[in-house]
Amino acid sequence: MRKYYDEITRIAGNVITVTATGVGYDELAVISSKRGTSLAQVIRLEGDQVSLQVFAGTQGVSTEDRVQFLNSPMQVPFTDDLLGRVFDGACRPRDDRAILEENKVSIGSPTVNPVRRRMPDHMVHTGIPMIDIFNSLVESQKLPIFSVAGEPYNELLARVGLQANADIIILGGMGLRHDDYLKFRDAFEKGGVLGRTIMFIHTAADPVVECLLVPDLCLAVGEQYALQNKRVLVLLTDMTAFSDALKEISIIMEQIPSNRGYPGDLYTQLARRYEKAVDFDGAGSMTILACVTMPGDDVTHPVPDNTGYITEGQFYLRNGRIEPFGSLSRLKQQVNGKTRDDHRAIMDACIQLYALCRESREKRDMGFEMSPWDHKLLKYGSLFEKKIMELSVNIPLFEALDRCWNILAECFDPAETGIRRAVIDAHWPKK
């Protein structure tokens, strides 16, 4: 028989403090109040005063309510019955189907030993030239989409998710709008992958703190599948909502904020999640694609900024296009040397020329005279945007490379492209 504690000494924000003994740090508890029950997690021990963050929030919690400790950290069932299921941020079914109790594993497992990781080298083909040519996505990569409200980031996430050809897809929604959740479901259903999808969905209507567990739940399940040799793709949207929930708790705990109210350990908290992306040496892999909305479209905001320092690149989604500047896949060089011998040369040259084109456009917009060189660049820029950058373009890598050569040949003399001679000789389109 587990013991109850009912001496709650403090309720503030989403944190309560209860008098209790024999409690382990990070342990989980259940709080029963008139409003129902909620999970809570130990975040501080001080003598016999135990502070817990209450996932459903503390509205309606009274000093007389009962707290029961579970002697373990948060756990998630791991069984194939998870496939096709939908849960909420506290791992309760959202789909009116059975509660799963088997084979529970703790979330927040220890770090993978770096020597048991292998070098990722499988390219994920997406059919989007801005990704495949310029910033190839690689299995086991952790990569966010930086965007702002109104951009089709969830659509992009779903599209990549479908084309990525993973064994298991796990979707973690944080602060997700209900219709966005339905859109994901539809996309997965139409794509025929619902049977290998698991969803942990926290919607904007749910208590804020409940979204804190979503990434951990997704990653704990994903890691188990990866250990069983599966290629797992985890989609997380929106990590800004997760960070904001962290901020809320830290403020209640009276931590000194480091930057715009966010706690000093934001980097560590985010890194512990993103670093779960892995290609096991001797087992499967887990790829993480996340969405990060940038408050005020400001990439120096602490959430995108810390994310950028953690992830292996980022895609900027702006005006419905993946921006060539700033977007980066840091793992691309692991794969783009083995695709076709001109891949890297095209990648560098097209971007450098597009950068020059933007300069020419600025000059033009300021009313300056355009030199013959400027005209070449302007022509190149609009062709490149139309035939390569548009998100609607959906072609395989080699076709996209050929298309780039044709655009270059249409606009420039070979030496003007800055591409080395050997590559030009082999690939420059013959008239």
Partner: protein, 573 residues
């Protein structure tokens, strides 16, 4: 001596001690399932000791036992460090993997040196001689180096050698000498010794002014913003600007004996790249694998944060140890901001009064003390050794006006500032040639590099002017300067890290090419029109770019050199 836990908060444990507690000593928190979690005392108030735990604190309870030790957090020094992959506390990661598998496990520690390996020892002194800390007792070959076995550095009295081992193969635990101090106390010496990581190790006759260029084979560094052996430098830059790649290239090509890579709070994947690639890469200077001159200290961002703080000290101590043998060591730390953030996290939990951006008030002095551990030394046996430290900085929002960058700039000898604009335009290495600086003299005559820099600066001014007055408002001469500045940037300062030849330019080739580049920069080209100027510069740029890709002294190299020379002779006509 034991104590018991009275509070747990994040990675901080407060314990009530029932005896003497030493600041910075280590302790073990005994979790009820039997795991012993390594910790360090970081504050003492009355009978309360605050410890930072080097592991996750999950499962610790109020009332759990803490075992306090007297020793400070230390590493073991001896033969067998080279080629190792350690975590921040010097646990060998491959051995941990062999024992526990895919994951790391809190409370599992393995001694930093193998107790089985036998090293062929040769003594350097006969019995009867008098010795003191740091004197060489003998040596063993370690890869390409002669690893000197020294009188332990903390033994700072005079001792008589009572006994010294015969030549033969011994493990690091086997006694190799017997020393006696003036009071007749005897000490048994083995090939390994411990040293506390937070205490600098620098036994020397004197500190030397660092001045030997440390050739990295990266042109923009060696020719424009040089680093010297024993010096310090920093690489601040926004995310994705190329800090880690720059350090990776440096770690391959730098002309030093030993490289220590401290991956501090960064991505595990980057370490994996190094540890998979280095054993395969042959160091052309030694003919051996690069791994034989490398030590990796790896505390990635998902590993416990207190161990992250310790990892840079672990790395520095290992570097200092090899410096004591008269070797040139390069320590590359990526990223010092993560180390500073680890300090901030701990300081916050201790509720210390915060400074700017919530960093602790002692941030500056800690950063200064860390870089102070670099230096060139004239050792007690007259030889010289050096430890060079290069650290990356990851400023929040990419803004250099933040505490860690600013504190670092105050103490380092060179600043390689990476710019977002350059990395976005794929101009690598993205070191900003206008903002960066170095207080050291490198392989290029400073007068020449100043001349080149002047053109770069003027070119930039012209470009800025052009955004206001347009190309048509710019004179042909000014326009040409801007083109020349671009040429210098594109064909000399930028370097393709992924091309076998261009990735590394030896000092002598740099000097030769730099002279040619400077000649072109100062060449009086007679041009009437801008488009003609542009075409001329496109032509010479194309030559130099292809020259960079040509291996030295090949036919291709010679052919392009002749074309360049005739371009120069004809003044472009």
């Amino acid at each position: 001596m034991n104590g018991r836990i009275v509070a747990v908060y994040g990675n901080i444990v407060i314990a009530e001690a029932n005896g003497q507690v030493f600041q910075n000593s280590i302790g073990y928190c005994l979790r009820q399932d039997g795991a012993k979690l390594l910790s360090e005392v970081i504050r003492v108030r009355g009978r309360l000791a605050d410890l930072q735990v080097f592991e996750e604190t999950r499962g610790l309870k109020v009332g759990d036992t803490v075992e306090f030790q007297e020793e400070m957090l230390s590493v073991v020094l001896g033969p067998g460090l080279l080629g190792q992959i350690y975590d921040g506390l010097q646990n060998p990661l491959p051995q941990l993997a062999a024992q526990i598998g895919f994951f790391l496990e809190p409370g599992k520690y393995i001694h930093g040196l193998s107790a089985e390996t036998r090293w062929p020892f040769t003594s350097a002194r006969p019995a009867g001689q008098t010795v003191t800390a740091g004197d060489t007792l003998g040596s063993v070959p370690e890869g390409i180096f002669t690893h000197q076995i020294k009188v332990p550095f903390r033994m700072n009295q005079e001792y008589r050698i009572e006994k010294i081992a015969e030549p033969g193969e011994y493990t690091v635990e086997h006694p190799i000498a017997q020393l006696k101090d003036q009071n007749g106390v005897e000490y048994t010496i083995t090939m390994q010794q411990k040293w506390p990581v937070k205490i600098p190790l620098n036994l020397a006759r004197r500190r030397l002014m660092p001045q030997d260029p440390l050739v990295t084979r990266i042109r923009i560094i060696d020719s424009m913003f040089p680093v010297v052996r024993g010096g310090t430098y920093c690489i601040p830059g926004p995310f994705g600007a190329g800090k880690t790649v720059l350090q990776q290239i440096t770690s391959r090509h730098a002309e030093v004996d030993i490289v220590i890579l401290a991956a501090c709070g960064e991505r595990a994947g980057e370490v994996v790249e190094t540890l998979r690639e280095f054993p395969e890469l042959i160091d052309p200077r030694t003919g051996k694998s690069l791994m034989e001159r490398t030590i990796i200290i790896c505390n990635t961002s998902a590993m416990p944060v207190a161990a992250r703080e310790a990892s840079v000290y672990t790395a520095a101590t290992l570097g200092e140890y090899y410096r004591q043998m008269g070797l040139n060591v390069l320590l590359l730390a990526d990223s010092t901001s993560r180390w500073a953030q680890a300090m901030r996290e701990v300081s916050g939990r201790l509720e210390e009064i915060p400074g700017e951006e919530a960093f602790p008030a002692y941030l500056e002095s800690r950063i200064a003390a860390f870089y102070e551990r670099a230096g060139a030394l004239e050792l007690t046996d007259g030889s010289t050794g050096s430890l060079t430290i290069g650290g990356t900085v990851s400023p929040a929002g990419g803004n250099f006006e933040e505490p860690v960058t600013q504190a670092t700039l105050k103490v380092v000898g060179a600043f390689h500032g990476l710019s977002r604009a350059r990395s976005d335009a794929r101009r690598y290495p993205s070191i900003d040639p206008l903002d960066s600086w170095s207080k050291y003299t490198g392989i290029i005559d400073p007068d020449k590099s100043i001349r080149a820099r002047r053109i770069l600066r003027r070119g930039n001014e012209v470009r800025q002017m052009m955004t206001v007055v347009g190309e048509e408002g710019t004179s042909v001469d000014d326009y040409l300067v801007a083109l020349k500045a671009d040429f210098f940037d594109n064909c000399y300062l930028q370097q393709n890290a992924f091309d076998a030849v261009d990735a590394a330019t030896p000092a002598q080739r740099q000097q030769f090419v730099f002279d040619k580049v400077l000649t072109v920069l100062e060449l009086p080209l007679e041009v009437q029109e801008k488009d003609q100027a542009r075409q001329l510069m496109v032509k010479i740029s194309d030559l130099f770019r292809n020259w960079n890709y040509a291996a030295q002294d090949t036919e291709e190299y010679q052919k392009i050199l002749e074309q360049i020379d005739s371009f120069i002779a004809a003044k472009g006509k």
